[in-house]
Symmetry: C2
Amino acid sequence: AVSLQNVRKTYQLGEPVHALDGVSLDITRGSYTAIMGPSGSGKSTLMNLVGCLDTPTEGTVIVDGADVATLDDRERTTLRGTTVGFVFQTFNLMPRLTALENVALPQLFQNVGRGERRERARELLERVGLADRADHLPNELSGGQRQRVALARALVNDPALVLADEPSGNLDTETEADVLDLFAEFHGGGTTMIVVTHERHVAERAERIVHLLDGKLERIEDLGSA
Amino acid sequence: AVSLQNVRKTYQLGEPVHALDGVSLDITRGSYTAIMGPSGSGKSTLMNLVGCLDTPTEGTVIVDGADVATLDDRERTTLRGTTVGFVFQTFNLMPRLTALENVALPQLFQNVGRGERRERARELLERVGLADRADHLPNELSGGQRQRVALARALVNDPALVLADEPSGNLDTETEADVLDLFAEFHGGGTTMIVVTHERHVAERAERIVHLLDGKLERIEDLGSA
Ligand SMILES: Nc1ncnc2c1ncn2[C@@H]1O[C@H](COP(=O)(O)OP(=O)(O)OP(=O)(O)O)[C@@H](O)[C@H]1O
Ligand SMILES: Nc1ncnc2c1ncn2[C@@H]1O[C@H](COP(=O)(O)OP(=O)(O)OP(=O)(O)O)[C@@H](O)[C@H]1O
Ligand SMILES: [Mg+2]
Ligand SMILES: [Mg+2]
């Protein structure tokens, strides 16, 4: 489903910053991959490339058969809206929409009527334990509640590929367990999962762990399919 | 140093939301307290009251001998600038200032010259492993790097009280260990520490753990001074 070939992402800030420094990686359809590595090692940068939010400085990123760099803005937006569900490290909720409206938003890419969109959004909010926060704005929610709204939003279109960047950093053990079960459920339904995490116990729910270090692929650790 | 007496924080959103539902708690000067509890249980709300960013709906919050509700805006701002170091769950960095400038900023409350402010800020950035990121803007930093800048900023005035809301949610194990050592060092120097965390191993660095549940104080767990 996803392939990175000799990918580099370099920022010019006086001296160049090699956020990704030559990464090659294949992610098969329906697999469950965790990504670990020190703060600043390039995890979010990698996720942004796979999620078509950014293009590499060098190398090739292929998502669902398409070379991301050859797509125009509209094609990239469509790919993101229909195929990719992204849980951002900084959530990125729309501040003037309620939790329910935020979760319902990606469905505008589908041919789904308003009633059905609300229904589906409400369902997912319930799965992340936020049924009673549907009408709250983001600034009327706790950190972990915002994180869960971002999560529900990423899953609402039942995307082929889910990218979750630190999805449980703000969640207590119990709430995190519910989220991981939800991921396992989607994975069981055929969704390709890529989860960035700092926590070993979260990474161990995947089939393998990709370890990044200073923008490079340090090693791939196989955990075996459960 | 800090005392909460029958504190309530209620939001009126159609039906009332009891973010804090009658909390009484004493925090002695120089102590190290961790706060744990499910997502949405009132931890950040409690921290905002102690940090004088907010006033209770009912009850009394006393910080450094002063009843927070009786202070005017200017007095509250001064108290925050000189006495309290706050690491926010959402970092709240100034987007147009570099990492160094963000860390140096609280020192404007002190009678410290510009050269000395830069020196001190650089020192702290080094302690959190970001010496080589001093000139980056927040959007040129990774999630964990922003978190560490927020941390350094909270410590720069050597405040009497440090409030850290989920200080290591975005940090890998090694970086987190450095941060916890830094906290231990400040605590050893007499600083009163209050740390909100979802992770047991972070909470266990404190002398006791305050457990919140649905806006109430569920129990206090004594860990004994190390
Ligand atoms: N402005 C607001 N209006 C209405 N409800 C609010 C507002 N701010 C917070 N809340 C609610 O108050 C409760 C406590 O929020 P708080 O941010 O203190 O939780 P928390 O313990 O820090 O959670 P987390 O671990 O997820 O960060 C939550 O249920 C939240 O929905
Ligand atoms: N716009 C930018 N300009 C310059 N450097 C950048 C920019 N964005 C990111 N970086 C740098 O690229 C490196 C990789 O960043 P990235 O966000 O991918 O790290 P990460 O592995 O996600 O870290 P964390 O675990 O802290 O979230 C970091 O060292 C960061 O400082
Ligand atoms: Mg990141
Ligand atoms: Mg919180």
